[in-house]
Subunit: 218 residues, 2 copies
């Protein structure tokens, strides 16, 4: 619906970028200098032509018959993803999930800096978590405004999720990552990712069942 | 690679099934009887032709000019996903993430029954979590075998993840859902879903950056 100068990159392609980034990072660590589109596609579990199509969205990479320079492509995809910048995060909900996310080792490494954790429970407020004190949720709106927070993580029970999201939106947050098992609504200018953990189990369920069919079929 | 009687359903389609199921569930709750492919596609954020293609993988649904019967389609997709069966789960790692997953409200509702939680930490062993006692990880292999556990969740630090997965595989688990921020390896007959939480943040990062470009462009 939004008017952009360039054709929008399809969401399926965007969702593959972190995976490209991870596999290329592995190759960088193993000091591999060049990789063919076929090899990289095999690692990704996609076809080589799909891979070339994906990367064409972002300009010209690699050379015919030579493949891709691993480090250049790694750095370039990092730049496309936006990893050269730092983003500030807050987590609302200091229960098990909020604590697990606050301590997730790979966030800080990628430039996502936790600035604050908020909860409604007076027993938790004031306790330390990672490098933050847990603050009263009443202070959320002012904190986001003052600190120009980019991303808000919603890790509260589903009944409270929409209210927390509304406060974040009001305070001018750019993006919300929702872990409550409910679809929350935000205005179109706010980026929203709903993390439906049960969806993953359903994919697993489908695949277990499919496996059953195959065994019967053989 | 595997030999199947039917063409394999593409993974992107499988990954959309839980979302179809959620939106149709919402329509069922709102007592909507019929839905056009256009309306359902709009809810899903895909095109109507994509939706028809998706559903064609599973047989004939709906009628030209009439749309889909919401409840029939909801029940049918649930059946396709495999939600008529019960699946048993174990969680290895009773830290914050393991506890958060044990208490995640939507798993049980969908037929995923938690059978056991395991940890290596003697301070946690014997404590109750959800309806289970936390057990010593030494008992994991025998427990999976005896109870015919379907799905193993790995919620341990990344250094321990592969070892836990190996034990699960040895014991005959069908599927592994890995939350440790590392790609673990399993034999091809075991279903594996790696949950890379940092990947989601990278998608958000990309979208924030893209938004910045648009603003500049306007």
């Amino acid at each position: 619906m939004r008017d952009t100068k360039e054709a929008r990159v399809p969401m399926v392609v965007i969702k593959r970028l972190p995976k490209y980034f991870r596999y290329l990072g592995e190759l960088v660590e193993r000091k591999v200098e060049r990789v063919s589109s076929q090899t990289l596609a095999d690692m990704m579990g996609i076809s080589a032509s799909q891979l070339r199509q994906d990367l064409n969205h972002f300009g010209e990479f690699g050379q015919q018959g030579y493949g891709y320079r691993v480090e250049d492509l790694y750095r370039e995809i990092g730049r496309i993803i936006g990893l050269e910048q730092e983003y500030s995060l807050v987590i609302v909900g200091a229960g098990n999930l909020g604590q697990a996310l606050a301590n997730y080792p790979n966030f800080g490494k990628r430039g996502f800096v936790l600035r604050g954790v908020f909860d409604i429970n007076p027993k938790l407020i004031g306790l330390g978590l990672r490098n933050c004190d847990i603050m009263d949720i009443d202070k959320l709106e002012a904190f986001i405004r003052t600190n120009n927070v980019d991303i808000g993580i919603v890790a509260v029970p589903k009944e409270a999720a929409q209210g927390v999201a509304d406060t974040m939106v009001q305070a001018g947050i750019k993006a919300i990552w929702n872990f409550a098992p409910v679809d929350i609504k935000v205005p179109p200018e706010v980026i929203l990712e709903n993390e439906h953990l049960a969806d993953r189990l359903m994919v697993i369920s489908f695949r277990i069942q499919e496996l059953g069919f195959e065994e019967e079929g053989d």
